[in-house]
């Protein structure tokens, strides 16, 4: 395989953060703890190099008139007819996302070197930032849905570990667990969607575009991938995890839920948009979910009491609108919307702690509160409906309650029933009561034995 300069550059761009993560993590596991300055300089250098390389690639593509750079490493593994293609693709869709990821990761690295100075977990944050960048770059540069799924899951894991960054407090830790559960549940859609694509099209690679499928097949694949994208982008009915994710440090909230991770779902849908366009049902579902999320995000965001949650719901509203644009087939508008929104929202998130400080200063200067804005919409509704809407918004659209009541609680009840079945006979004729181990004694006590 002959690799030209640009293909090698693309491979390096994706692999560099991953390699740095692996080396640093292994050295730490063996007992070495690097100094803060070493970590922040390494991060700065990494992302500066990647941004330079990506800028050069964009310049090369526009100068040469080529539409994409593709590098194929053959199959990662292959068994019989099934193969996992290992191909990276930098085209007009993925390059803006790659550049955005690298630039914002570098920016967040620079910001966090000061923000997290002498914080416990400084190294952990930067390791996870490198891993996140690797996952995102892999997902955006993937030439097949299989490879995109790998990057997608890495982004999910780092996201959860950063939500639980302040590990001494129980709330972030439990919220991290909740987000992880939703991510993993929604990833089933991606896994089964990839399987369906392999099954019907023979491959999940899109370096040469998607094959034309039957409308039902396209609809099924589209709906499965929409399920995965909705989970990652916190669309209805999974929006409840987004405010929980705000427990992480501000820089990680900025890059994950203001910029990159929240748009990963939209990127997936943009990638498979040719498939979605083959099915009316698939595209309509994307539009409907987007519209509902945008309305919900807009209303709930207005009732949010803290700055980060308010910004999170503002992000959700915009991502909902981006879903609508994708469903309607306005791909270019969606890409521009994503780039603009990600940049502005990152700035807002990073400014959130000092913005509160500024507001306090302004309130002190004018001797009262600033005139509240944004009530013109509320005035359109009758007062009773406003109150109902306010309560609904305070409950965050009851989405978590619905998920709990119809999915989590029945599953937990079933699990407890299975536990009771497991313990049947343990305190029977073969077993003296004092032999019942502690974990089983609770169950026996509940049964009144």
């Amino acid at each position: 395989m002959i690799v030209d300069f640009w293909q090698a550059t693309l491979a390096l761009v994706v692999l560099l953060p991953g390699a740095i993560f692996v080396v640093l993590a292994l050295l730490w596991l063996m007992g070495w703890v690097p100094r803060e300055r070493v970590i922040s300089r390494l991060t700065h250098l990494t992302f500066s190099l990647i941004v330079l390389a990506l800028t050069a690639m964009i310049w090369h593509l526009s100068a040469s008139g080529a539409s994409s750079i593709v590098i194929t490493f053959g199959n990662w593994f292959a068994v019989h007819d099934y193969h996992f293609p290992l191909a990276l693709l930098a085209d007009r869709l993925s390059l803006p996302f790659l550049l955005l990821t690298a630039a914002l990761s570098g920016l967040i690295g620079k910001f966090s070197a000061t923000y997290l100075h002498r914080e416990r977990g400084f190294l952990r944050f930067f390791l996870l930032l490198q891993l996140f960048a690797f996952g995102s770059l892999l997902a955006f540069a993937a030439g097949s849905l299989d490879l995109m799924a790998a990057g997608w899951e890495i982004v999910g894991i780092t996201s959860v570990l950063l939500i639980a960054f302040f590990q001494q407090r129980p709330a972030p830790v439990e919220n991290g667990l909740r987000v992880f559960a939703i991510y993993r549940a929604c990833d089933i859609g991606l896994l089964v969607g990839v399987f369906a694509l392999h099954h019907w099209a023979g491959t999940a690679s899109f370096t040469n575009g998607f094959p034309s499928l039957h409308e039902t097949q396209s609809a099924m694949i589209g709906l499965l991938l929409l399920f995965a994208a909705a989970g990652k982008a916190a669309q209805i009915p999974f929006s409840g995890w987004l405010p929980r994710a705000m427990e992480g440090p501000t820089p990680s909230s900025a890059i994950f839920y203001g910029a990159i991770s929240i748009h990963a779902g939209a990127y997936l849908l943009l990638r498979v948009q040719p498939l979605l366009a083959q099915s009316m049902l698939g595209s309509s579902a994307v539009v409907v979910i987007g519209v509902l999320t945008a309305i919900q995000g807009s209303i709930v965001g207005r009732a949010s009491a803290d700055a980060k949650t308010s910004l999170a719901y503002a992000s959700l509203t915009q991502v909902g609108l981006i879903f609508v644009e994708i469903g309607l087939g306005w791909r270019r508008l969606a890409v521009v919307h994503i780039l603009g929104h990600a940049t502005v929202r990152t700035l807002q998130f990073l400014r959130a702690p000092s913005m509160l400080h500024d507001y306090h200063k302004m309130h002190a200067a004018i001797g009262g509160e600033l005139t509240p804005a944004g009530r013109h919409l509320a005035k359109l509704f009758p007062e009773r409906f406003q109150l109902w809407l306010y309560r609904w918004a305070m409950d965050r659209a009851c989405l978590d309650t619905i998920l709990d009541r119809f999915i989590v609680d029945p599953l937990m009840r079933l699990s407890r029933l299975f536990a009771m079945l497991d313990y049947l006979g343990l305190d029977g004729p073969w077993r003296r009561p004092e032999e019942v181990p502690p974990s089983m004694q609770n169950v026996a006590r509940q049964r009144g034995e």
Partner: protein, 438 residues
């Protein structure tokens, strides 16, 4: 390599742990060193056998290398408190017997190895738990296998597995007896509860060693499929559905379990059931995925049980997943190892299990499009359970009752890093492992 030298190497691989067991019982003060040397000798002999084996039929040798490496890992990760003569001797005895089962091509020797691996768990001086279900399951599976082999012998058949291939020796009765043996030994629903009992009440590391022998899957791969290809193709869906149901049932069961040992046992069982589901999918992807997953589950569960035991020794045996214990503050490296092994068990990218689960899902969905959906659902639930255990054990505010304890010691750190490297490098270059399973 000549058959004689191959036979000699097999003898070395099997007898080294047994001799080590006797030596460890005599020289109790040097038990760990003896165990490590004996297991290393087995690794070397198995590696030479693997190197010399012809490409299409290397499963036995591959499993021997895997299990002898696992034995080295188990002896090094074993905490000092557990490192007494009886535990080490029992572990080496299990290792030797398991290697015998992997290497033999004779039904009678296979039966003897099957019985020997379970023997230390009946013996109070070694690993006998105080609960009855593990003993009953081991007993019933042994009776079923013995009856099956007796029926084959009664039918006038030879005992060499190679000569019995595709002949359905003993008919359907033998087939069903073998299936019953698999169900009880593997812990397939409804005979699954013994696995959690054994893990909770027995010694953690030796029990992990016993579970990781995967004798149920071995029976399927070594006897049922080659000996009964026609019956297998007709009746395998039944066993496959049972395996998928077990994977899901146990995954749901684990969601509310708070005992870390039972929880890990359920996860190990659910993921092991995926191996069986893959083997029974009768697709190349499913079978390859199952065999690669065998590697992953073996190394990951040994790592997880080993770390859990290290935590129990340091922080007491009343660990629970019902509240946050905040152990990462005291043991950050053990926390990282735990999350790495945990994520590796449930198919995270960057680990070998990403590849194995991709193949398993492709294989089972291609074989049973609707029931195959249970597999990714079960894996997702297992991921949630392992992450819950990690969160509860390691994160949150540290309990004041715990005294300051050491993080992973250099001995533990090195061996756990080696295991993590295997899983990660295997994940980055999976073709090397997938190639062994073809």
């Amino acid at each position: 390599m000549t058959p004689a030298s191959r036979f000699t190497l097999r003898i070395v691989a099997v007898s080294a742990p047994w001799c080590g067991a006797i030596l460890a019982a005599i020289l109790a003060r040097h038990a760990r060193m003896i165990a490590c040397a004996a297991a290393s000798l087995s690794v070397m002999a198995s590696l030479i056998l693997l190197h010399a084996a012809a490409a299409p039929v290397r499963l036995n040798e591959t499993l021997m290398v895997l299990f002898s490496c696992l034995a080295v890992m188990a002896t090094l990760v074993l905490p000092k408190r557990d490192c007494n003569a009886s535990t080490i001797a029992g572990m080496l005895f299990v290792v030797g017997s398991t290697l015998l089962a992997y290497t033999t091509e004779d039904l009678l020797i296979f039966l003897i190895a099957w019985i020997l691996t379970a023997a230390p768990f009946f013996w109070t001086e070694f690993f006998a738990a105080e609960v009855w279900r593990p003993r009953v399951a081991a007993g019933l599976s042994t009776i079923a296998l013995t009856l099956a082999i007796l029926l084959i012998a009664a039918a006038g058949e030879r005992m060499a597995i190679g000569e019995l291939q595709q002949r359905s020796p003993g008919g359907m009765t033998v087939f069903w007896l073998l299936v019953v043996a698999v169900i009880f030994r593997k812990g397939i629903c409804p005979a699954h509860a013994w696995v959690a009992d054994a893990a909770e009440n027995g010694p953690a590391v030796p029990t992990a060693l016993l579970l990781n022998g995967h004798f149920g899957a071995l029976l399927v791969a070594k006897l049922i499929v080659p000996l009964f290809p026609h019956a297998a193709s007709d009746l395998f869906p039944v066993l496959s559905y049972l395996a998928l149901a077990t994977a899901l049932y146990v995954a749901i069961r684990a969601l509310t379990e708070n005992s870390p040992r039972r929880l890990l046992a359920f996860l190990a069982l659910s993921q092991s059931a995926c191996i069986l589901a893959g083997l029974e999918s009768r697709t190349a992807e499913g079978i390859s995925g199952a065999l690669v997953h065998w590697f992953v589950v073996t190394v990951s569960t040994m790592g997880l049980f080993g770390i859990l035991r290290l935590l129990e020794v340091r922080f007491g045996e009343n660990l629970t997943a019902s509240r946050h214990l905040g152990l990462a503050e005291q043991a950050p490296r053990l926390a990282v190892f735990f999350v790495l092994f945990g994520l590796a068990l449930v198919g995270s990218p960057g680990t070998l299990s990403f590849c194995s689960q991709d193949l398993l899902i492709q294989g089972t969905l291609a074989s049973h499009s609707l029931t195959g959906l249970l597999l990714p659902i079960a894996i997702a639930m297992n991921a949630i359970s392992i992450f819950r255990l990690f969160v509860r054990l390691f994160l949150g505010k540290r309990r004041t009752g715990f005294t300051v304890m050491a993080d992973a010691l250099p001995r533990e750190r090195w061996i756990l890093t080696a295991a993590v490297l295997f899983i990660v490098l295997g994940g980055l270059f999976p073709n090397a492992i997938v190639g062994l399973t073809r």
